[in-house]
């Protein structure tokens, strides 16, 4: 049996601690131990973006991150974006803009978009394309996703005047 190590994180604002297998990826730990299935495993090798999460303010691929290296970190996933029953502006823009079909890429797209908007609340179309370029989508043809991110930025209260 693989050795288990304790990992303590702040996950979507909540203090959490779990024992994870030594060497487990953060993706597998989040889904299997912490019960957060919002990050998706598309490739498990860093090429699809579906597993994207924000660790200490930075966009990361959770499939390439060791869970035990996150001890003490603050992790944000798509599951933590809604406040009570109110969707996050990005979630609302994706829903209203019909930017998800099968939805498998959606949590990764939303985290990539959030990381962008946190840095740059008023992005250009080129900024959005650049920010999403590590995320693959089979279904939408990307345009509705680009439009949704721009719409969320335009609707954001933090938008630069």
């Amino acid at each position: 049996m693989a050795k288990k190590v304790p990992v303590q994180v702040t996950l979507n604002g909540e203090e959490r601690a779990e024992f994870v297998e030594s060497g487990a990826t953060l993706l597998n730990a989040l889904r299997g131990r912490f019960g957060d299935t919002s990050p998706k495993g598309g490739c498990h090798q860093g090429t699809c973006g579906a597993c994207s999460v924000i660790i200490d303010g930075e966009l990361k691929l959770s499939c390439l991150t060791l869970a035990e290296a996150c001890d003490g970190a603050e992790i944000v996933t798509t599951a933590g974006l809604a406040t009570n029953s109110a969707m996050h502006p990005l979630q609302r823009a994706f829903a209203e803009g019909f930017a998800a079909q099968c939805g498998f890429c959606t949590p990764g797209m939303i985290m990539a978009a959030k990381a962008l908007l946190d840095q740059k609340p008023d992005p250009t179309r080129e900024d959005v394309i650049e920010a999403l370029s590590g995320n693959i989508c089979r279904c939408t043809g990307y345009e509705p996703i680009i439009q949704a991110v721009l719409a969320a930025a335009a609707a954001s209260p933090h938008k630069a005047a």
């Binding site: 490739c43 090429t47 079909q101 498998f104």
Partner: protein, 337 residues
């Protein structure tokens, strides 16, 4: 050596569903005690929006708001039989089965309401917002909520219905080979403009303009989303995607998303979608299957545009720079050399 612009066009006539041993789907509809409607299916929603469309179809047929309908696609072991969601058949086949089941359920619902109101069921109509009333006398009314309660607790009725849609197998005529493999066809026409670099063989899609004829768009926004994604996917098939670039030789196949190429958000062509609606006589509220055909016409249109641009016909997919350069070289070689 130059960038050459070309334009190509292609059209597609695409059958809805398939013709193997017959093409059936079934559906069951029943009401809860409080007048919500459950539709039980074995069909699967894998992102194409089947649940939403079936909820709309059931709601329209029974005469209730779509929010009152729950689609249960939980289990293919226990649900009514479905051939599956493929061959662009879901909306058409399953939708027709849902209409039949919902029609039967609506009839029982009106019969129970008629007993409650002491009128004839044939004199009743629904208002679409959750009420049943006598035609021409909206004050003589009962809510569907109360009707369902009465059915369950007073009248001992099950507000339910069974639905079945079957396109029977079509056999070819022995003499002529003629057959009727499908009952309706969706159509599309695409015009693609490309720039081809005749030095590198690289193709840039400048624009892709599509007209789709899809019967009726039961949910126009979802149709648009499908068509925009499909148009992109067609271009991707034409120019990028393959697991076996030297088929049947399996060497040099992509092994991951780094090597399996698709256009990303930075490679999008200017895309236009126009939807035409010519309702199918046997479609649920006129709908046909737009699913697969929307990713088809872009492929020959791209090949034709490349021919228009640089005069070479590529008949292998994807149309890679390598294939274009080889064809250009063969074309430039003196005959017989």
């Amino acid at each position: 050596m130059a960038i050459r612009r070309g334009r190509g066009v292609a059209a597609v006539n695409y059958p809805t569903g398939m013709n193997l041993g017959g093409d059936p789907s079934q559906a069951l509809v029943h009401s809860t005690p409080t007048g919500n409607f459950m539709v039980t299916l074995s069909s699967v929603d894998l992102g194409q929006g089947l649940k939403q469309i079936m909820a709309q179809i059931c709601a329209e047929t029974i005469g209730v708001p779509a929010e009152l309908v729950t689609i249960d696609t939980g289990d293919t072991d226990t649900g009514p039989h479905c051939m599956g969601t493929f061959a662009s058949r879901g909306t058409h086949r399953i939708g027709n089965a849902v209409i039949q089941a919902a029609t039967e359920a609506r009839q029982v619902m009106l019969e129970v309401a008629a007993e409650e109101l002491e009128v004839n069921a044939s004199d009743l109509e629904t208002d679409g917002t959750g009420n049943i009333h006598v035609k021409g006398a909206p004050q003589k009314a009962i809510s569907i909520f109360d009707t369902a309660l009465a059915a369950h607790f007073k009248r001992g009725r099950s507000i339910s219905g069974r639905g079945m849609f079957l396109v029977p197998r079509s056999y070819p005529e022995v003499e002529t080979g003629a057959m009727k493999p499908a009952t309706c066809y969706a159509h599309a026409c695409t015009v693609v403009e490309v720039d081809v670099d005749d030095e590198t063989g690289e193709v840039t899609v400048v624009s892709v303009k599509n007209v789709f004829e899809i019967g009726r768009a039961l949910n126009p926004r979802m149709v648009e989303q499908q068509l925009v994604g499909g148009s992109w996917m067609g271009l991707s098939h034409a120019l990028y995607e393959t697991t076996e670039p030297y088929y049947p030789n399996r060497e040099h196949g992509g092994t991951d998303f780094n090597q399996y190429l698709m256009p990303g958000p930075g490679d999008l062509a200017e895309t236009e979608i126009i939807v035409l609606e010519r309702p199918a006589a046997d479609g649920p509220y006129g709908a046909k299957g737009p699913g697969e055909m929307c990713a088809n016409p872009q492929i020959p249109a791209v090949a034709n545009a490349i021919f228009d641009a640089v005069g070479v016909r590529i008949d292998h997919l994807p149309i890679t720079p390598e294939r274009i350069l080889r064809a250009l070289r063969a074309q430039a070689a003196p005959a017989g050399a």
